[in-house]
Structures are given as structure tokens and as C-alpha cells.
């Protein structure tokens, strides 16, 4: 997978953001606390619920087929206190996992 690749969420796959959880997780980040374990977005497939954490949820929302993975990194960089290389690795790894699950498809 490359930063130039572009993906979109699989049509018809039900998901929902837990908005309060997202707000609380960003507040925790700003306060310097670790919010990586908090589920902020739910994906439901075949009756099974999977929680995505804050970074995963933000990546998921941006996987709408209009931007490449690299552009997702660009959008998220100001919101997460992390080096670009590290964020790029995390986002690429996460999108690759989504692709393996069949939750995103090439746009």
C-alpha cells in the first residue's frame, strides 16, 4: 500500500460515530492523557461490533474516496501530536487492515 492509494468505505457497511466519545478523547489528548484505548466509532458487520479508537475513527471518516492515504495523513497531522513518519506508518497499517477486512475498497 502506498500513500498515493485512495480508498473508500465499503458501501452499505453500517457504522456510527460516538460523538461524545470523540469529543472526550480529543479533550484527553489535549490534556496530555492517552486516549488510544477509547472507542469512538463503531463498525457493525454480521452482528459483530468493532470499536475503532480515535485515530482509527478519524481515518475511517476520511476514507470517503476523495483523498489518497497521504492526504489523510496531511489532514490528521495537526490534530495528533506525532511525527509525520510515525503517523504515516500508523495510517498505512490501519488502512491495510481495513482493506484486508474488506471494509474499504479502492476508490
Amino acid at each position: 500500500m502506498e500513500l498515493t492509494d485512495c480508498y473508500r468505505r465499503r458501501p452499505g457497511l453500517p457504522w456510527r460515530e460516538e460523538r461524545d466519545a470523540t469529543r472526550d478523547a480529543f479533550a484527553a489528548l489535549e490534556a496530555g492523557r492517552d486516549a488510544s484505548a477509547e472507542g469512538t466509532l463503531l463498525v457493525v458487520e454480521r452482528g459483530r461490533i468493532t470499536e475503532l479508537n480515535l485515530l482509527g475513527g478519524e481515518v475511517w471518516k476520511l476514507c470517503d474516496g476523495t483523498r489518497a492515504v497521504g492526504a489523510i495523513v496531511d489532514e490528521l497531522l495537526p490534530r495528533f501530536e506525532v511525527e509525520r513518519d510515525e503517523l504515516s506508518r500508523d495510517v498505512l497499517e490501519f488502512v491495510a487492515d481495513l482493506l484486508a477486512r474488506g471494509w474499504v475498497v479502492p476508490a
Binding site: P14, E18, R19, G39, L42, E51, L52, N53, G56
Partner: protein, 337 residues
């Protein structure tokens, strides 16, 4: 990614009884004695808007026989456009080729058909409707040909618990993607016929052991159980990651008049979808609070499985004891406790 273990901001699923009217009178029916005014189409849509706004993802129509509602397809099309993922359960009597095409075009993702035995005479007798077996088999064909995901719903009870293999074979032949094995509930007519139809706890255990073996066999359609007492057989959080009953944790039930209850089998009204704010009810209902924070009672107090099963099915416990915290009457653990 992590497994969930908390209460979300809203239900994910609403089991929606659009109507209690039915063209059948089945021996186990939980709703045959229920009476409630049906919302007109406009109010059904308003209820759907409120569900979608709250973040509900799935609406599953039951009842009653949903196909008796003449406005079902028109209303469903608009509900699907709101983003709700729609399914329904039907006895199949009215589900001909045109109805199947209509359901597909209205946006139904899957349709469940009730099938209680592979033997036509047993199914027909249980459903008190001669010819119903043939009609449901025909309905399955119409759904599959229309391209709708077919699921089979079977209420496990004394008439069929020893016939799981031929039932699964039939489901497979019909093209079912999934078989829901619903545990018998002593509500409505089910309560009337409880002693004829319900199994003894050890019979439930043996049934589930057999069913779990079938579930592990990829030659059969996927089997869905959704029975929290499976925790004592080492099946924990099998499908959704929620310990204990899912009612009031990820799902709610809507009656035809818009009243909300924790599930179709617990007749405790939390409020009304048209009069009350759903997220507030979901957060603050004392009934839901009780169901989410159960207290072990009776034999459950000394049971090592309690943390995973939380007393089993809350609806069954409530139906026979009037106590949400009572042990599930189907539970085979510590029978003398």
C-alpha cells in the same frame, strides 16, 4: 481495535413491531394477545427519523405479520433513505414473487422466514395454518431469486429440538445465509403453552451442545443463537461482545403505537418514540439501568459464569418471576442451588 464493554450513545438495533395483527395464530406467539394502535404512515416515518437521528443503524420489523401493513413498502423505502438498514421477519404466507421484488426495491437487506420444522405437518400444526410449510418454502425461493439475503428463524422448543440436523439441511437447500435459533420465551401464548413446549434445563444444555457442533461445521448455514446462558458452555460474547442479554444495551423494541420497551418479551414501557427524547430515555431509564446493572440472585450468586451470562435471558427470568434479576429458568447450572 478493541472489544466493546460499555453502553453506547444509542441503540444500534430496534426491533420494531409495526403491527400486532397477524394471519397466523402460532402456539408460541409472544404477541398474539397484545393490543396496540398502529401508527399511521406519517408517524411511522417520524419515528424512523427520530431513530436515525439518535444513531440507530438497524430496524428489524416483526410483530405481527409486517406484510399485512399495506403501506409497508412505501414506508420502508423512506426509512431506508434515512439510512436505516432494514430487515423483517415474516411467516411467508403473503410473500410471493411480486412481494419479494417489492421488498428488494424498498431496500430490505435481509428477510427472515419462520420455519419451525422440516416436517410439513409439524410446522403447519404449530402455526395452526394448513399449507403454511409449502408457502414458506415457496417464499424462500422468491426471496433468493429476488436477491435478498434469506435467513431462517426457528423457535426452538419441544416440537423441534431433536430435529436440528434436518432443519439445517432444509435451510441450506432453501438458500438461507443464516439460521436464527431463537430460544423459547414464555410470553403471550408461549406462557400459555409453556409446560408443553419449553425444554427442561438439561435438555437445553444438550441441545446447545449439539447446535454448537453444527455451528462449527462450515457445511451448514451460519447459526445465530443470541442466548446468554451459552456462557456456561464456554461461548462468551459470541457475536456482539456484550455479556448477558443484549436488550437495553444495544437494542430496544418499538410497539405499534410507538411505545418503547427493552425487548418484545419484557412488557415494561420506557416511554414513547414520538413523545419522548430517545437518547434521554436510553441514558436515564431506570428500567434500562436495572437491566444493565443486574444483581445476582438465587443460584446465580455462587455461579462462576455470572460475569459472562449475567443471569441469562432477562426476559425469561422476568416472565416467570417478575424479577429482572432472577436466574434464567433455562439455566442448567447448579440445579439444586
Amino acid at each position: 481495535m478493541s472489544a466493546p464493554g460499555k453502553i453506547y450513545s444509542a441503540p444500534l438495533l430496534v426491533n420494531w413491531s409495526l403491527n400486532y395483527s397477524c394471519n397466523f395464530s402460532c402456539e408460541h406467539c409472544y404477541s398474539r394477545f397484545e393490543k396496540a394502535e398502529e401508527l399511521p404512515a406519517g408517524q411511522v416515518l417520524e419515528a424512523g427519523r427520530r431513530l436515525a437521528e439518535a444513531g440507530v443503524l438497524f430496524a428489524n420489523f416483526g410483530g405481527g405479520e409486517p406484510l399485512l401493513r399495506r403501506d409497508l413498502l412505501a414506508v420502508s423505502k423512506e426509512l431506508a433513505a434515512l439510512g436505516l438498514s432494514l430487515s423483517l421477519n415474516s411467516n411467508g404466507w403473503l410473500l410471493d414473487e411480486a412481494a419479494a421484488a417489492g421488498l428488494r426495491d424498498a431496500g430490505f437487506v435481509s428477510v427472515g422466514l419462520s420455519l419451525d420444522s422440516h416436517r410439513p405437518e409439524v410446522h403447519d400444526r404449530f402455526r395452526n395454518r394448513p399449507g403454511s410449510f409449502d408457502r414458506v418454502v415457496a417464499a424462500a425461493g422468491h426471496l433468493v431469486r429476488a436477491g435478498i439475503k434469506l435467513t431462517i428463524s426457528t423457535v426452538v422448543c419441544r416440537i423441534n429440538y431433536q430435529d436440528l440436523a434436518p432443519l439445517l439441511e432444509l435451510a441450506k437447500r432453501l438458500g438461507a445465509a443464516q439460521v436464527y435459533l431463537h430460544n423459547f420465551k414464555c410470553s403471550g401464548k408461549g406462557m400459555e403453552h409453556r409446560f408443553e413446549l419449553d425444554l427442561e434445563p438439561l435438555e437445553w444444555r444438550d441441545f446447545y451442545r449439539e447446535a454448537l457442533a453444527f455451528a462449527a461445521n462450515p457445511a451448514y448455514p451460519e447459526i445465530s443463537f443470541d442466548d446468554p446462558i451459552l456462557a456456561s458452555l464456554g461461548v462468551r460474547d459470541a457475536e456482539h461482545g456484550i455479556p448477558g442479554s443484549t436488550c437495553g444495551k444495544i437494542s430496544l423494541h418499538l410497539r405499534p403505537n410507538g411505545d418503547l420497551t427493552p425487548c418484545g418479551f419484557i412488557p415494561l414501557v420506557l416511554g414513547n418514540i414520538l413523545r419522548d427524547d430517545l437518547p434521554t430515555l436510553w441514558r436515564e431509564s431506570p428500567v434500562l439501568e436495572s437491566m444493565r446493572h443486574k444483581t445476582a440472585k438465587g443460584k446465580c450468586t455462587a455461579c462462576g459464569h455470572y460475569a459472562a451470562c449475567l443471569g441469562g435471558c432477562t426476559a425469561r427470568a422476568f416472565a416467570v418471576s417478575g424479577d429482572l434479576n432472577a436466574p434464567d429458568p433455562h439455566c442448567w447450572e447448579n440445579p439444586c442451588g
